[in-house]
């Protein structure tokens, strides 16, 4: 009887553990945690480039651009009307925007229009 109870307990534990592992592996718990958290991600501006040029984030994420270049840059949404627009950022200045809706947000530097980047919000 004791041996049977012990086996059932061990089996139950193993099954529950396996289910939890499978669920986490499929991204179920993972995506719940991501959506629940308010993340902040950074885009570095350096040598006339946005790094990374394309950033994929979850809805609700705040993206912060940091100008590490030694020349002013701006971060301006390409959308009409503009979703976001920074002032001219000097060296080490920051600009943040929280992406609440899914979609692809293209942006550029209004001083150097060939500098472009993209934020993909899922």
């Amino acid at each position: 009887m004791i041996r049977t109870c012990l086996c059932i307990t061990v089996l139950t534990f193993l099954v529950l553990n396996a289910v939890a592992s499978l669920a986490a592996g499929s991204g179920y718990f993972g995506s719940t945690i991501q959506q629940g958290q308010e993340q902040t991600l950074e885009v570095k501006i350096d040598n006339f480039s946005f790094l990374p040029a394309t950033l994929t984030v979850a809805a609700g994420t705040t993206v912060t651009w940091i100008n590490r270049d030694d020349i002013p840059h701006t971060v301006v949404s390409s959308d009409d009307p503009r979703a976001f627009k920074s002032k001219a950022l000097d060296t080490d200045d920051r600009f943040s925007f929280t992406f609440t809706k899914a979609g692809t947000y293209s942006y550029f530097c209004s001083i150097h229009p060939k500098m472009t980047g993209k934020v993909v919000v899922q």
């Binding site: 350096d46 040598n47 006339f48 030694d70 020349i71 002013p72 001219a88 000097d90 001083i111 150097h112 229009p113 060939k114 500098m115």
Partner: protein
């Protein structure tokens, strides 16, 4: 190159204007004074349009808010020097046009040593052009030795 189209166009036009002024000076040496007057007038007035339409708005938006706090930075100092010297040279050039090409100014305000004034302005004009070109490079050209 990361420059917007208008900056490229303005730089090319300014080089053409400066070369035009040199050509106008050559015309004066050939004693073609009427052609000289037209050439220099067109150059000075075209520059005035570019300054008013492109350079002043750009300067007010990008540079003047950073003066005097960041005047020591080359991306502010260069355009500030270019703007200050360029403004003075353009005003003197306009004054020479008025004094030499019209009778609007009273006799006592006329220039007497034209050659000295004109040659000084021509040299200063090229210095302003060089400052403008340096500003263009500083703002729009990624330099390999920065990092």
């Amino acid at each position: 190159m990361q420059s917007p189209l208008y900056a490229d166009v303005v730089l090319l036009l300014e080089v053409a204007i400066a070369l035009g002024l040199l050509g106008g000076a050559w015309l004066a040496r050939r004693h073609k004074f009427r052609e000289h007057a037209w050439c220099q007038s067109v150059a000075v007035l075209l520059n005035l349009v570019l300054v008013a339409v492109v350079m002043v708005p750009s300067f007010r938006e990008q540079v003047s808010p950073k003066i005097p706090a960041k005047l020591g930075k080359s991306y502010v100092g260069l355009p500030a020097a270019h703007g200050a010297l360029g403004g003075i040279v353009e005003l003197i050039a306009l004054y020479i046009l008025l004094a030499a090409g019209t009778k609007l100014l009273p006799e006592r305000l006329r220039i007497r040593r034209y050659k000295l004034w004109m040659r000084t302005v021509l040299v200063a004009w090229w210095l302003v052009l060089l400052l403008g070109a340096a500003t263009y490079v500083r703002w729009y050209v990624p330099l390999p030795f920065r990092h």
